[in-house]
């Protein structure tokens, strides 16, 4: 009985969310085929980004709100690939390489910053994301076209400086990964290659924690002082964890955007942090513990709710707006709840 209670408590969030999802689906009366095709697509689109959060959590840095830095790197890379008109899979490959290169630099800087703010990494990484967003806007609103050459005039604002609000990927790299291998099950389209990439990343993460580096990351996450005494260079390990997370986020953003097909120049990266973190937490992760399964389950549950919330809100209250606000509220509330639990537990350990 006690054991059952323990299981129920530790899986409280996923269970509550499952109930919420099922009732929302029943209320909204969404056709199951439509729901299935949406979920499969979102699974191949978003899981990579959510997985990028796992390494810093195990490294004891908490939720890395700094993945927006990686997302910005991914977008920046895509802008140039589009400008250079590199098409198809080659374009994706070039974008991934460029995104990784930028992400390594950004992740290194982020890691150094977070090492100066031990104990308040999460708020620092969040503010770091906002700060980087300012720099990003400065570059892509004022420098591009003036200081940085950009040939494709149709993506620039009328004065020839600064990118437009949306940059189109159709005709260059849109769906380049999706189209390589598509399987149709009834009317549900399954994009196999992105799913395979996600599976490969899962294997990589599982493998990483079997290596020396992975064990070091885990040790640092459990107790920094003991790790230090054991001869691990704590600061270096933490920087590596942040770099890895940022690079994965950069690649994840490329995968995400090739599916979406258009880049929302000044918004796409902002939502990524929020939705990825919320999804991971919905899957039952905490700020100190996260697994691959948390990520997959989280994407499933969170995006089910995401798809059905507006129509459920419409059916219940007669206003689709209520559903949209409700969905936003849930994303924030889940994070607030997880953080509160984190604080609560940290305090119990201290006492």
């Amino acid at each position: 009985m006690d054991k059952l209670k323990k299981v129920l408590i530790s899986y409280a969030v996923p269970i509550a969310f499952s109930i919420l999802c099922i009732s929302a689906v029943l209320i909204a009366r969404i056709p199951p085929i439509f729901l299935a095709s949406e979920i499969v697509r979102r699974l191949s689109r978003n899981t990579f980004l959510v997985l990028s959060l796992i390494i810093p959590i195990i490294g004891g840095l908490g939720l890395n709100f700094g993945i927006v830095l990686g997302a910005m790197a991914g977008q920046a890379a895509l802008f140039f690939v589009v400008d250079w008109k590199i098409k198809g899979l080659l374009g994706i490959l070039v974008a991934c390489l460029m995104a990784s290169a930028i992400s390594i630099v950004l992740g290194w800087l982020a890691g150094l910053t977070l090492n100066r703010a031990k104990g308040r990494e999460m708020i620092t990484s969040m503010i770091l994301g906002f700060f980087a967003n300012g720099i990003y806007q400065l570059i892509f609103l004022f420098f591009i076209g003036s200081l940085i050459p950009f040939r494709t005039k149709q993506f620039l604002l009328p004065e020839g400086v600064g990118l437009r609000n949306t940059v189109d990927l159709y005709g260059t790299v849109a769906s380049a990964l999706n189209n390589v291998w598509m399987v149709r099950i009834g009317t549900v389209r399954v994009f196999v290659l992105p799913l395979l990439i996600v599976a490969a990343l899962c294997l990589f993460i599982a493998f990483l924690f079997k290596t020396k580096l992975g064990q070091d990351i885990r040790a640092v996450g459990q107790d920094m002082h003991i790790a230090e005494v054991a001869g691990i260079n704590v600061n270096k390990v933490r920087v590596i964890a942040v770099i890895m997370s940022t690079v994965l986020a950069g690649i994840g953003q490329v995968i995400y955007l090739q599916d979406i097909g258009t880049i929302n120049t000044y918004n796409s990266h902002e939502q990524i942090g929020l939705f990825s973190i919320a999804a991971l937490l919905v899957g039952g992760a905490t700020t100190r513990k996260a697994t691959i399964w948390n990520a997959i389950l989280g994407v499933l549950l969170f995006h089910t709710l995401f798809v059905v919330a507006p129509s459920a809100g419409n059916k219940l209250f007669g206003q689709p707006q209520v559903g949209e606000f409700f969905r936003e509220f849930l994303a924030y509330a889940v994070i607030a709840f997880a953080l509160a639990m984190h604080g609560w537990r940290a305090r119990k350990i201290l006492m």
Partner: protein, 346 residues
């Protein structure tokens, strides 16, 4: 000269940079066609407009829980107060004071709950506060659509349900403080009432930190164990500080709204937090130390910077670079404060 160098050492480098930037902007303004008196009166108006919100940061910083990133929680209370006053159809000073009264009452209630929550998550107040702010704003967005406000000035004209995004305060208490004892010197306008209110609020908070309770709050922030051994209940001190911060946030948003002339609902409260945090940090506060002088200096520098940057820089560059500058300056300042090594024991 030595004293000047000594003073220079104590000033934060970012504050100095921002201050020098501000002076450079003024010099630039002198060469352009921008009218400096109107810039100055705009700046003064905005200092009074945002000041109380910045003041709300003081209690939580002093009690040791960091800047109040949950500012929207208190702002919601203030908005509710203003809405109730409007629903009652009160105008002028009556409307304003009734709004303040309701705001204080509601914020006391909300603050107690919020303080209770923060007490449970000691050490993570900034992060939990931020996301509590976000969640409360999203939750209240639903409520704005559902709450039974009936005043036709406030709800959507079509459908007759749900509050509008921005409510005009013209018929209620817009500019009521700004116009109180206002005087003009040439093109320069001085909103006496607004600044009197801000000064009064600062003075009250200053007095509060002279009382027994206020000193207890300071003590808890400086050294919790010492506070306990001196017979202070740290939990109670923190609760009081959070409630006070909430009340100031609620009052602050009403002052802001009356000066702006509009009450902004839905997402708007979210955009108040980071500028307010940045302001007090620019004024020389750290995440563990703050006083009234930091509030006044910080608000003055930051708001003047924002006011004068737009007209001056728009003559030099194309487009609105100030929004980007605001993002970089405010978040850069917060980042600096979060990452600097503590040297509090001065």
């Amino acid at each position: 000269m030595d004293r000047f160098l000594e003073w220079l050492k104590r000033v934060d480098i970012p504050t100095l940079i921002i201050f020098l930037f501000l002076i450079a902007l003024f010099v630039l303004a002198a060469f352009t066609k921008v009218s400096i008196p109107s810039l100055l009166s705009d700046s003064i108006r905005r200092i009074g407009m945002n000041g109380v919100l910045v003041l709300a940061m003081v209690p939580t910083i002093r009690v040791g829980t960091g800047p109040n990133f949950g500012l929207p929680v208190g702002i919601i209370g203030g908005l509710l107060g203003a809405l109730i006053s409007m629903q009652l159809g009160l105008a002028g000073f009556t409307g304003f004071w009734v709004a303040i009264l309701f705001a204080i009452l509601i914020c006391l209630g909300i603050g107690l709950g919020y303080g209770w929550l923060l007490e449970r998550v000691r050490g993570q107040e900034m992060m939990v506060g931020t996301y509590m702010g976000y969640s409360v704003v999203a939750f209240m967005s639903i409520m704005w659509l559902m709450l039974p406000f009936k005043n036709p000035d406030m709800i959507w004209a079509i459908g007759g349900k749900g509050l509008r995004y921005t409510l005009a305060l013209d018929k209620y208490f817009a500019h009521i403080l700004n116009n109180f004892l206002k005087f003009k010197i040439g093109g320069f306008e001085f909103p006496t009432g607004l600044l009197l209110f801000f000064a009064g609020a600062c003075f009250l908070v200053h007095l509060f930190f002279r009382t027994r309770t206020g000193l207890a709050i300071d003590l808890v922030g400086q050294n919790e164990r010492y506070a306990i051994s001196s017979g202070v209940n740290p939990n109670k001190a923190r609760l009081i500080a959070v409630v006070l911060s909430n009340v100031l946030a609620g009052v602050g948003i009403i002052v802001y709204a009356q000066s702006y002339g509009f009450l902004q609902l839905y997402q708007a409260p979210l955009f108040m937090t980071f500028p307010a945090v940045a302001s007090i940090l620019i004024g020389g506060a750290s995440i563990k130390r703050a006083n009234i002088r930091n509030v006044i200096v910080g608000t003055a520098i930051f708001q003047t910077l924002l006011t004068i940057a737009l007209p001056v820089l728009s003559q030099v560059t194309r487009g609105d670079i100030t929004e980007v500058m605001r993002l970089i300056v405010s978040n850069g300042m917060i980042l600096y404060a979060l990452t600097r090594t503590p040297k509090e024991a001065r």
